[in-house]
């Protein structure tokens, strides 16, 4: 039982990060039909910028804030310089562009920062709590609560504010949104910036546990995509559910089956979902008119 809980805790922690990445994917995908492969780099930037800003002498909370701002700017630039100009290109072209952006950002991080692994101090110390016989790091709770808080804030934004509703409208039908006067291009840009922000926060929260490194973006992006697919691409709550589920699946298979192939779980999930239920757990099917 203790072992089961142990795996569950670590699965939920890392799953919360996947949920954030998946949520970012979904936000951008919904408003623009773009699968943003650079999503993982937002998480990477959150952690790495904080580490290096703190090392440069900036107090930690400010460093974190700076990291979020920097990542949001990167997200905006990504949209303006790489996505907007390619509007109208085929989905595959767009995916390759975002892959290019991800490679570019990775290269920049390796050059500007370094290639080592870095950590951030835990918020509430390193003493693990004991729950049901299993060890639970306080930072895990920070991650989980942080993610839950961000999901809640995002939900409030989308449903209560006018801009948020405009975003939902753009996601539902871009042409119609434009026809009622919504600046869809700005909305898409905003979705990139919000996704960047939530990615960065995720990176900052998780760095004490998972460490951060210039290279973590790719795997995170792929796993986040797997999570989004699992939950049903286009469904924000599905993305969160998919992320948590993927994290749990990874942890349990690493614990009970093989830890070597832990990373393979996400890819097996992708393939299984695509073959058996392409619309994921909570997605809906679209009918194509000929």
């Amino acid at each position: 039982m203790a072992e089961f809980l142990q795996f569950a805790f670590s699965g939920l922690t890392v799953g919360a990060i996947y949920a954030l990445v998946a949520l970012g994917f979904t936000l951008i995908f919904n408003s623009s039909d773009v699968v943003n492969f650079a999503q993982g780099e937002f998480v990477m930037l959150g952690g790495m910028v904080t580490v290096f800003a703190a090392a440069a002498g900036i107090p930690l909370p400010l460093a974190a804030l700076l990291a979020i701002v920097v990542t949001v700017v990167v997200g905006m630039l990504l949209h303006r310089l790489a996505i907007e100009p390619a509007r109208g290109a085929s989905p595959v072209t767009l995916i390759i562009i975002t892959i290019g952006a991800s490679i570019l950002l990775r290269g920049l991080a390796a050059t500007i920062f370094d290639k080592n692994y870095h950590s951030l101090p835990s918020w509430f110390g390193n003493e693990p709590l004991t729950v049901g016989g299993a060890a639970l790091l306080p930072q895990s709770l920070v991650v989980m609560f942080g993610v839950a808080l961000m999901v809640a804030l995002l939900w409030a934004f989308l449903t209560r504010t006018l801009t948020g509703k405009a975003m939902l409208a753009t996601a539902a039908n871009r042409l119609a949104a434009r026809l009622v006067g919504i600046n869809t291009s700005a909305i898409v840009g905003l979705s990139f910036m919000i996704s960047a922000a939530i990615g960065a926060v995720g990176g900052i929260l998780a760095a004490p546990i998972t460490l951060t490194n210039y290279d973590i973006g790719t795997m995170l992006a792929l796993k986040g995509f797997a999570a989004a697919m699992l939950g049903g691409i286009g469904n924000p709550l599905g993305a969160v559910a998919g992320g948590l589920l993927l994290g749990l699946l990874e942890a349990f298979s690493a614990g009970y089956i093989s830890s070597q192939y832990k990373d393979a779980v996400a890819f097996v999930v992708i393939l299984l979902v695509l073959f058996t239920m392409p619309h994921g757990l909570f997605g809906s099917s679209k009918v194509e008119r000929v």
Binding site: S90, I97, L104, G107
Partner: protein, 314 residues
């Protein structure tokens, strides 16, 4: 004259001439080596182009098949006692077989679903070769025994230049034949309108699978050559980055252009050689190239150049 030049077989002849004549212009074995690498990459990209440029599908995991060919000629002789030339053939058959089996369900997907599925496939292959250390030497790789043909030990840049050059010429010849045939037209039809292709009697699923299997075979042969030339194989023969490099080569040169595959391969192989200072910034340059080219020249260099020339001479 123009009508004669339009015959695509000129591409094959032209390439053969280049392959034969080029060594006269190469100052040292270093350049011969680079040329051989261009030919090997071009072979893989050619296969990918048949899939992406002609049949209109996408594969972001093609390095997986490259890696299968690579590890086949390492594992075959070392662990199974199969002579290298036979291992190469077996590797190609294995890659084609995996493509056949996985291709059936995967090719039912479209657009980014297909892209991510192939990406997942490529990564799974990369993970397997990295993890199964006992057979594959794990993350550090393993040595590849040299090819021995009828007692003659095949090694050296010049030898591999000729082997890869000849294979590329054959590969291009096969590709040209394919494109001009009923199968090639079916591929292109599927690319432009699957629905129309269907109602005209084209068994779309079968042809997509054919393109996938063919491209896997091309990649596998290229992968085998790559590591036989090098003498060593590591898991990054099937890495995600390599898959992306192949795609960039194909897109850069021009999807749907056979000549473009060679141009694209040449550029991406030569770039790090020519701009040695860029080695540290390799990723930055690669990423930047991808973004800029796909925004401004999505058709690729060769088609863009062809349009430019056509407009000038019209």
């Amino acid at each position: 004259m123009r009508q004669i030049l339009k015959n695509p077989l000129w591409l094959v002849v032209g390439l053969a001439i280049i392959v034969v004549v080029l060594p006269l212009f190469l100052p040292s074995t270093y350049y011969v080596r680079v040329a051989a690498l261009v030919f090997i990459n071009a072979l893989a990209v050619l296969g990918l182009n048949l899939l992406m440029g002609f049949a209109g599908q996408v594969s972001l995991g093609h390095a997986g098949f490259f890696g299968i060919g690579a590890y086949a000629v390492a594992v075959g002789p070392t662990h199974l006692g199969i002579p290298t030339w036979a291992s190469l053939i077996c590797g190609t058959i294995l890659a084609a077989f995996i493509a056949f089996v996985v291709g059936r369900p995967i090719l039912k997907l479209r657009g980014y679903y297909l892209a991510v599925a192939t990406l997942g496939l490529g990564m799974l292959i990369a993970m397997i070769v990295s993890n199964e250390g006992a057979i594959t030497g794990g993350p550090n790789g393993m040595p590849v025994p040299r090819l021995v043909l009828f007692g003659w030990r095949v090694f050296g840049p010049m030898t591999w230049y000729w082997i890869s050059g000849l294979t590329l010429v054959i590969g291009v010849w096969v590709a040209v034949n394919l494109v001009e045939s009923s199968t090639g037209r079916a591929f292109r039809a599927i690319h432009d309108s699957e629905t129309a292709a269907r109602v005209l009697g084209v068994n779309v699923a079968r042809y997509k699978l054919t393109a996938f299997v063919l491209s896997a075979a091309y990649a596998s042969v290229a992968g085998s050559y790559f590591v036989l030339f090098d003498g060593f194989v590591t898991p990054d023969t099937s890495s995600f980055l390599r898959s992306i490099e192949f795609v960039v080569m194909a897109v850069l040169g021009g999807l749907g252009s056979i000549f473009g595959s060679i141009v694209g391969a040449a550029i991406l192989v030569l770039l790090p050689q020519v701009l040695t200072v860029f080695h540290d910034y390799e990723h930055i340059v690669l990423g930047a190239i991808m973004i800029v080219f796909l925004i401004f020249l999505p058709a690729g260099l060769v088609p863009a150049a062809a349009t430019f020339i056509r407009r000038r001479t019209a």
